[in-house]
Amino acid sequence: MNIMNETIENVSTMLKNKQISSVELVKDSLSKIEATKELNTLHEVCSESALQKAQEIDDLRAKGQDLPILAGVPIVIKDNISMVGTFTTCSSKFLENYKSPYNATVVDKLLNAGAIIVGKANMDEFAMGSSSETCAFGPVHNPRNPEYVPGGSSGGSAGTVAGNQCFASLGTDTGGSIRQPSSFCGVVGLKPTYGLVSRYGVVAFASSLDQVGPITKSVRDSAIMLDTIAGYDANEFTSAKHSTEHYYENSFKNSVKGMKIGFAKEFFESLQNQEVLQSVMNAIDFFKSNGAEIVDIKLPHINDALAVYYVLSSAEAASNLARFDGIKYGVATTEYKDLIDFYVQSRTQGFGKEVKRRIMLGNFVLSSGYFDAYYNKAKAVQNLIINEFTDAFKQCDVIISPTTPSPAFKIGEKVDNPLEMYLNDIYTVPVNIARLPAMSIPCGVASNGLPLGLQLIGNRFSESTLFNISDYFEKNCFSLREVK
């Protein structure tokens, strides 16, 4: 048995039964990270602090203390999440030397639960991308086949879990950045309801869309992680006052009988890839034959969501990234004419191509003469899409779709065509636009040997329903962990 292939559930039991110590587990994680470092999933490995924390957990356990399920388990976080004692670079040259002065709320929650943070994961620069190729420290490789991208922007977070370097990770999802890489790498990714998980201490990309969520090897592990990180945070203005649900304890009913699954033909009209289509159709047949009801729903403006997304996310990114001036932190140019030129030169040196493109696009849609035609129009269409989902959820419990239009593509294949790259997110962005939760779970393997993903979308705060249906599918229909 290779312990690094196990789930949180299993290693947690082993830790509890003292079949293994946390120090041994962290050492195994660190050796796996070292042995597979060419995947470039991590920017920073926290060996010293991880081993120290693991020893503390082992000491507490030796004293007979009852510890949380995550206690002593190695976890990775995305490099846009602040943690004292680490750099938080957002995979940008601009922040290469930026040290976190405080912990993100999700980091405090993980540490309080005894989780061992072993590293910070590479990503697309400032989370802008769908392939983790815009990372300033080189592209991340897909552990299923290193010639392929792991997806993005949480490509390092998905890759480190799929590559068995750790047991779970945190990613962030603004338009699909947890679900799309989870699909490409064959792991479980959850984008929680907007407001359920605090973003305090997480570097903002598009604040009205960003959400933190877990990437895991199983659906049940995803519930364990959400139990740990969810909850109201007074430090965040958009944090929801939603009561604690105990997902791990209460979600799993091991049945989909009577469940209503929404099928929107608009999700499938543009789908070209037959393997992706077939895998989702197989899932639909499986649910139907196990007592679920398939309901036809209408989402007429779903295919406008990507356009809405690029207007709103770029506008917010341009505003959020305006504070990167080279004075408070980051790259400071040494040669400049005046103050304005100092900003221009520092930002031009520090930001990569894709980040510059989004800032430019954002300032275009916000500039006078275009504001009404683009920004306000996109907000109006966003409202239409929200209303359509609200109507759809009067008829069904979850909505089913592929996570992505194709399996992972090769490194370099789409890097010169931004629009084609953006189309990767066509099924995932509507979820962020409507502030809903959604999961991506593995549902098959393509002929190129790479995994395919199924997306299940829930109504606001219905994570428990998503966990139940996804777990039922994973147990009784398809689990990539059992494919050899």
Partner: protein, 94 residues
């Protein structure tokens, strides 16, 4: 819609970014194709859509209470140039 080089220059100055000639051509092309794609929104009828700018559920504000914050050292800790707990900015007035 075609985005001209003149417009790119204006946007670059708003964005506090600089592009060389080669980058200028590339970004003008990329932005034109993205804006053409986004133009599909113009065809959507939104005449009956109201209230499209705020997330209303988050309007409740917390009490304004004075609490401990980061220390001065921590705040200026990442500054490329600092002196006696201050950030050093380029000269604005000679």
């Amino acid at each position: 819609m075609e985005i001209t080089e003149k417009e790119i220059k204006h946007l670059a100055s708003l964005s506090r970014l600089q592009f060389n000639d080669e980058e200028m051509t590339k970004i003008a092309n990329d932005m034109s194709s993205i804006v053409n794609y986004v133009d599909q929104l113009q065809k959507v009828d939104t005449s009956n859509v109201k209230d499209n700018t705020t997330i209303r559920e988050f309007e409740e504000l917390r009490e304004d209470v004075v609490k401990d914050s980061l220390s001065n050292d921590e705040i200026v800790g990442n500054a490329p140039k600092k002196l006696n707990g201050y950030f050093i900015a380029p000269t604005v007035v000679e």
